[in-house]
């Protein structure tokens, strides 16, 4: 029997000392215990915290993992990402609906299961995958999906689904997952030798300004996608006035096809935390926050343990590493299923306990970030580089890579290749080389940088991976000649429609129009004028959208239109009679025919 949601909600509010910025934590507790955050829970939270109920409602309805209607005791969230789909997610889905007797979005009569599609869960190298409760289940087939449901019916305990443990720390008792790291090519920077504590000791022996100078000398640029110089970001934040400052680690990894942060969090959390500690020292912050995507909740107990160990060893807490007066600690905030929260200002909104809406810029987080204080947001991989730069020196780091893009980059490679997984490559490597490493042959197209990157064909495989050519946060999705380009593009547009926050017009409406336009083309109802309109809408979204999502989400359509124009042109035509081919007369009069009970003479 579940407890009344109101009581659970009140207790959860007490647990966070009625701090409204911890609203996400409260909602997580209520959702977990009551399987939903219903109206009485919302009322209770609003009353307890003294905030308007509509604000709580707004947050609940923003995040995919919070629901106002009950979900099953066990939620099965199947990854809808294109890679999962191409590797059989639909067959898995059919098996699940058949075995459970429910559709997606529904709950079984006994309340035990509910079934959901969800955006990429960061397992493209072991697809198709599903999130069952907090447990990752990988390499699904129709057969194993059925067996999974049957055994869950018996033990009702998703962690018991894990029989064979993954490699490395995936087998740690607190992680206990079947997820594999698939580290195919470790490089000498990220995956280089570890000299524990060395980086922090060196940093604390320098002045903060010297640490920032080292970052600048290394020419380190952000690994989360935008490629902003880390040293400069730190310098701005250090120079900004504020009673407090924050360093935030962006572990929201949501770009479809990206999973390298998952591996870093599993294998090298100490490096990430050391990087945060160093950043904190450099900018003058005493608090760090890791924003961990909700899908990676299975890593949280382990990461908490690593933090606890660091406190014991004196790498966190008061007077770090014996340095009088430098205090620093880290906490973890769990996200709740919203890709947009990877965008740094949305991430900050979410940390503040509200809807994950992006913020207006200026002011930038360096001036006005978390709770209004100067804030640095850095990606997990960037922070690992920081640690390495301090350990081995800036010069050693910048020997790798190119002039504009120093160091190495982790690639998350998935799709049609023999060895999907993690590759640490030097910036400046050609895409062709990367495809060879991954064992990809008969390649038709590669999506570089996730859906918001670009789709390119073989004539461009000699281009190189770096910030001024093929920029990527790490996602490389490979499609062989058997794949249909427009289906891939359509899946990406579905993703953006699903994940747009809806704040601004260009993105909220533009993605829907592009997706529908593409559907018309796929259905053979497209016209040449549609293609022109796609490009116009894309140009408008790029210029007018409020944040990086809408500024880039048109790219699957427009870049594929550039690289694979024939696939579009072969499907569009002008109507010989000058009618709009998109207009379906039969469909348009169907309701009227039904109401009048007469057939239209023209339709």
């Amino acid at each position: 029997m579940t407890k009344p949601s109101e009581a659970v909600a009140r207790q959860a509010c007490q647990d966070v000392n009625l701090d409204p910025t911890r609203l996400l934590d409260v909602l997580h507790i209520v959702q977990k215990e009551c399987r939903c955050v219903d109206d009485s829970a919302i009322d209770a939270i609003a009353a307890e915290m003294g905030i308007p109920r509509v604000r709580v409602d707004g947050a609940v309805t923003f995040y995919t993992f919070f629901t106002k209607e009950p979900v099953g005791q066990i939620t099965i969230r199947l990854s809808s990402d294109i890679i999962d789909r191409l590797q059989g997610a639909q067959e898995v889905a059919d098996a699940l609906t058949d075995e459970l007797g429910i559709d997606f979005g529904q709950i079984t009569a006994d309340g035990l299961f509910s079934l959901h599609w969800t955006s990429c869960i960061g397992m493209s190298d072991q697809a198709p995958a599903a999130l069952v409760g907090d447990t990752m289940v990988t390499h699904l087939t129709a057969e194993t999906a059925r067996l999974m449901v049957r055994s869950l019916r018996e033990h009702k305990h998703p962690p018991k689904l894990v029989q064979e443990l993954g490699d490395g720390k995936n087998a740690h008792p607190l992680v206990h997952t079947m997820v594999k790291n698939n580290i195919r090519q470790p490089g000498s920077i990220i995956f280089g030798p570890i000299n524990r504590g060395e980086a922090i000791r060196k940093a604390l022996g320098m002045t903060p300004v010297e640490v920032i100078r080292a970052m600048k000398t290394s020419r380190l640029r952000g690994r989360g996608g935008a490629g902003f110089p880390a040293g400069l970001k730190w310098e701005f934040t250090r120079a900004a006035t504020g009673d407090r400052k924050y360093i935030i680690c962006n572990a929201d990894e949501g770009e479809p096809g990206t999973f390298k942060d998952r591996v870093l969090l599993t294998e090298l959390p100490d490096r990430i935390f050391a990087g945060m500690t160093i950043a904190g020292y450099a900018i003058g912050a005493q608090e760090g926050i890791v924003y961990l995507r909700g899908e990676y909740a299975y890593l949280k107990p382990y990461l908490e343990e690593v933090l606890a160990q660091r406190r014991v060893e004196g790498w966190l807490g008061q007077d770090i590493a014996g340095k009088q007066g430098y205090h620093f600690d880290i906490r973890i905030q769990l996200g709740a299923g919203a890709y947009i929260c990877g965008e740094e200002t949305s991430l900050i909104s979410s940390l503040e306990g509200t809807r994950g809406d992006p913020k207006n810029r200026p002011p930038f987080p360096a001036q006005h970030g978390y709770l209004g204080y100067p804030t640095v947001v850095n990606n997990c991989e960037t922070l690992c580089c920081v640690t390495k730069i301090l350990e081995n020196g800036a010069a050693t780091f910048s020997e790798f890579g190119t002039e504009q893009s120093s160091g190495t980059k982790l690639l998350s490679i998935s799709g049609d290749c023999t060895a999907p997984g993690i590759y640490e490559v030097e910036f400046g490597v050609s895409l062709q080389k990367v495809l060879e490493m991954a064992g990809a042959t008969q390649v038709q197209a590669v999506q570089v940088g996730g859906p918001s990157g670009q789709l390119i064909g073989p004539d461009q495989f000699d281009r190189v991976l770096c910030f001024d050519d093929l920029a990527t946060g790490g996602s490389i999705m490979i499609f062989d000649q058997s794949r249909k380009i427009l289906d891939i593009v359509h899946a990406f547009m579905e993703f953006f429609v699903e994940e747009s926050c809806g704040y601004c017009t260009p993105c909220r409406v533009g993605n829907v129009l592009l997706k529908e336009g593409l559907q018309r083309v796929l259905d053979g109802r497209g016209e040449p004028a549609d293609l022109e309109q796609f490009e116009q809408v894309g140009a408008m979204m790029k210029a007018c959208s409020r944040c990086g999502l809408g500024q880039t989400s048109w790219r699957p359509v427009v870049t594929s239109l550039q690289s694979f124009r024939d696939q579009y042109e072969s499907r569009v035509a002008d109507d010989p009679d000058g009618f709009r081919r998109s207009f379906d007369l039969k469909k348009a009069v169907a309701t009227a025919e039904k109401i009048t009970g007469r057939k239209s003479v023209h339709a």
Partner: protein
């Protein structure tokens, strides 16, 4: 001490006060930058994106971007006007806007910007979404069909009325205005005298029984196109 800032909009030099947003400086100088979610006196919001201009060559929303000395702003370029047309059309097809039956006709800012841009019918396909009407309150009507998610009611209720009657719920294309109650406006402390009701640019938030006090033909934008109030009062110098 307030120093004056000088900037250029479409080649014309104007003066501005530090801290002003580009749109405020333009207004004061008699230059109209199209807008819907911006309303003087409310916190900048930046959702409609109609006010997108180029500032020193970079696109940004004029209602949220502060003026900077020497800034070069492009406003009425062909490509920006084309973008704005698309945005206006998108707002029309995203909701259910029937100007001919709408009591806000003539006083509606969405309709007025469409006329100013010479839009007669959208070139994008209509979405025909299913949206609700909340007529529970004795004096106030919410028609979600016509809402453009500008957040003007949200900000006015929160910051000027001190009530927080409205806020956003849902995400993406399901985002909508929610009320501070289980579901009905009648269960909130919304009142006919709330300034929030005057903040709505379209016919989504209406006072009941006031529809036709001003006859069609004599309404605000029946007489002069939207923006002319700014263009006529400003002092370009």
């Amino acid at each position: 001490m307030s120093q004056t800032i000088t900037l250029k909009i479409d080649g014309v030099e104007i003066k501005a006060q530090p801290g002003q947003k580009v749109i405020e400086a333009a207004d004061a100088a008699g230059v109209y930058i199209p807008r819907l979610c911006h309303k003087p006196g409310l916190e900048p919001f930046g959702s409609c994106r109609l006010c997108t201009v180029l500032a020193n060559g970079r696109p940004c929303s004029a209602c949220t971007t502060p003026v900077v000395e020497g800034m070069v702003v492009e406003n009425e370029t062909e490509s920006l006007q084309n973008f704005r047309k698309q945005i206006i059309e998108m707002l029309f097809v995203e909701g259910n806007h029937f100007c001919m039956f709408c009591e806000k006709s003539g006083n509606c800012e969405l309709q007025a910007v469409a006329y100013r841009f010479g839009i007669t019918a959208p070139t994008f396909p209509y979405q025909w979404p299913h949206r609700e009407v909340d007529a529970s309150h004795p004096d106030i009507l919410i028609d979600h069909n016509r809402c453009i998610l500008c957040g003007r009611c949200v900000r006015t209720s929160r910051d000027l009325d001190g009530k927080h009657v409205f806020d956003f719920v849902g995400r993406g294309c399901e985002k909508k205005i929610g009320v501070n109650a289980d579901s009905r406006l009648a269960d909130t402390n919304a009142d006919i005298s709330d300034q929030a009701l005057d903040a709505c640019p379209v016919g989504a938030l209406l006072r009941k029984q006031t529809a036709y006090q001003t006859p069609i033909g004599q309404r605000l934008y029946d007489l002069e196109p939207i923006g002319s109030e700014i263009e006529s009062t400003g002092n370009t110098n």
